[in-house]
Assembly symmetry: C2
Homo-oligomer: 422 residues x 2
């Protein structure tokens, strides 16, 4: 069977099984998630044994320690995965909500309600927890899932999917709503990305290269997640006592994630007074500095090491303890820098001047604008969504952290009493 035939078969099976989700109640889906959570804990030893096979193969293949750590499951991590499923089961049902409602002059009633997409494909990398995290979010939002993880986690994913499917067998939801896509070769990914009409949406999760590949090759609609070149702009009207903690938190608290800051912009009116404090604090936190000419002069004056920042620096998502620093003459200049180098993810302004903040927001063009707070708050958990399937970096459909609601689409229910159009 070709990869295309295989995906077509899996998608058809998922679509038909999805009907059990279409007609399910929220209580039935919640119950199914709890059954899954129980099964994952009950079959922990089985899951760990499969994971050990992946770990052995990974070590034999010479995977680095960071990749091996992502691949690793432990009894605690399995508990956390089950806990995550229970947490999602406690969120409000995202389906059947009335989003808009009106009665037309001819008596027809309009109601726009939230409904599932149908069949959603996930393409992701080494972490086996994504297999369960994604499946339960999709199941809770009424969607059948085609899960395409990494071949390095093949044994773990296979067992996790079979545990979830076995668990569903005792519920009103068909086990076929969760389908594992084989990961031996890239052909299955390609087939998934081109199953337009069979698969309603594909979401990539992982490296920038993976996301780029999915967005470029997919004829199925996708939601781009990921890249964050985030800026912190310290305005001339900033409360400087807030500025340093926010700069440090944005850069240092977890540099590897997409909502960490990569560039610090400082208004020229406070460059001389504030820049030394900021550069010292960053240097003391172990951050390597890449400075434009104006900030490089100040760095040299106070004896802090720094390199001359290039255009490439300003475009780079470091993911490490490195930061760019530049001086700008106005909020408009800060916005222009951000428009040139940013990735429309998260941009922060530190200012007590409401007009300046308003202008920064109007010109920002990004998923989240932080006003006097850290870029690190662009996060589904932090923002109170309770679960997150990724952070959308695009403008279509969902922007920013995506929870259950982002996994729904809408339908108009138009109820009449025999009306016709004249």
């Amino acid at each position: 069977m070709s990869a295309q035939q295989l995906i077509s078969q899996l998608a058809d099976s998922a679509r038909i099984a999805g009907r059990t989700l279409s007609v399910s109640t929220g209580a039935q889906r919640k119950a199914a998630l709890n059954v899954i959570a129980d099964a994952i804990e009950a079959r922990s030893a089985h899951i760990l044994a499969a994971n050990e096979k992946d770990m052995e193969a990974g070590r034999a293949a010479g995977l680095n320690s960071s990749l091996l750590d992502r691949l690793l499951l432990t009894p605690e991590r399995i508990k956390a995965i089950a806990g995550g499923a229970r947490q999602v089961s406690q969120l409000p049902d995202p389906l059947g909500n009335t989003l808009r409602q009106s009665t037309l002059p001819n008596g027809i009633e309009l109601q726009q309600i939230s409904v599932p997409f149908g069949v959603i494909g996930m393409v992701y990398e080494a972490r086996p927890n994504v297999t369960v995290d994604a499946a339960v979010i999709l199941l809770m939002s009424g969607n059948a899932a085609l899960l395409r993880g990494s071949s390095s986690a093949a044994h773990s994913n296979e067992v996790l999917v079979s545990v979830m499917r076995d668990a569903l067998a005792s519920t009103s939801i068909s086990p076929d709503v969760i389908q594992l896509v084989p990961s031996e070769d890239r052909e299955t990914v390609k087939a998934l990305l081109n199953a337009r009409g069979k698969v309603d949406l594909v979401i990539p999760r992982g490296s920038a290269a993976l996301i780029r590949m999915v967005v470029d090759e997919s004829s199925v609609p996708t939601i781009e997640t990921g890249a964050g070149v985030c800026h912190v702009y310290i305005d001339e009207f900033a409360d400087l006592s807030k500025a340093v903690p926010i700069i440090i938190n944005s850069k240092v608290q977890r540099p590897s994630v997409c909502n960490a800051a990569e560039t610090l912009l400082i208004h020229s009116a406070i460059a001389d007074s504030f820049m030394p404090t900021a550069l010292k604090a960053l240097h003391e936190a172990g951050v390597i500095l890449h400075c434009d000419s104006a900030s490089l002069t100040i760095a040299k004056k106070i004896g802090i090491p720094a390199t001359q920042a290039t255009d490439e620096n300003f475009c780079t998502e470091y993911g490490t303890l490195e930061i760019n620093v530049a001086v700008v003459d106005s909020v408009d200049a800060a916005s222009a820098h951000i428009a040139k180098y940013g990735t429309q993810h998260t941009e922060a302004i530190i200012s007590e001047n409401k007009d300046v903040v308003k202008r920064f927001i109007a010109l920002a063009d990004c998923a989240a604008v932080m006003v006097n707070t850290s870029t690190r708050f662009t996060d589904g958990e932090q923002m109170g969504f309770g679960a997150e399937i990724g952070i959308s970096n695009q403008k279509l459909h969902a922007r920013g952290p995506m929870g259950l609601e982002a996994m729904t689409t809408t339908t108009w229910i138009v109820t009449g009493n025999g009306q016709i159009r004249s």
Copy 2:
């Protein structure tokens, strides 16, 4: 200059000019639309002269009368175009609306607001009115517009765009927010569809072939509009006095549009009693019948001409006075037929049984479900949106008729007082 360079230049210019929209008030955008409407009326003679050049070229090229009619502008049509712009100016401002709002335990305030996409490309066919209709909807929703119409309407579009741009020169909005993309060759379309990062969204409007091409070739996010194979299902619990008018209205009132019905499904329990009435009414309205075996038998019995319907018939969007007829045994069978042959546009059920209606809705998977009313109501004007840029046939972002709101995306405004993440 290559097509790619040209599009890049137009998009950059539109993006920069778009900043005048980002910081504009709703009142300023409304005023700009009225200035445009006035200018279109004032320069009516100029527009008609340009249109006459297109008409001459069209006649010389042997365009058929239907295409020539779409291309034609008259003093009345120009008045209607200006009236459309004024109507859009009276709609509620779609920007800056708060969609969600909450305060987190740490005191941070979350606010999700509607904002423009930025730069939107429109790819469309002969009708020159789309040039103005699209530009004013995009302008009102804060977006800069790259307009790529048909080469057959090149003179008309050029004058319409220059009239709108001249009008904007007297307002706070930069004229460069409206850009005409040259239409001499296909290269400009290809370049537009691949200007990812420069253009935020492309919307095709026109034939199925045009829409397919845009969806297939675009790396810029698109919204698929169009194809409608819509069904009317007459349930065993239908109020039959409503059924015939709804069937006839759905098929006959304007067969060329996407929300017209193409297939009639009748529950087997009422096939013998109701089918003859339905077939007679359709035949008398001039509709050609393509019947499955069960309905063909009835058609023959009552002497109404009909052909045997094939799979191809059931997939076809006729756009003419032709309809398919089939007998189904249950609401589930009706839904299965629709899932197999439908295009997820509009599906109607005629039934007085609430449980059956509920199940039909749950299994429908389409942009709009009509309950005891005509499929022809899936329409932005009819649904009270006041303006429509197209009907989305996809699930991502917008589904069904798209008004001003569908041309916006969102931003999270996260306001703190120095909070950092621990």
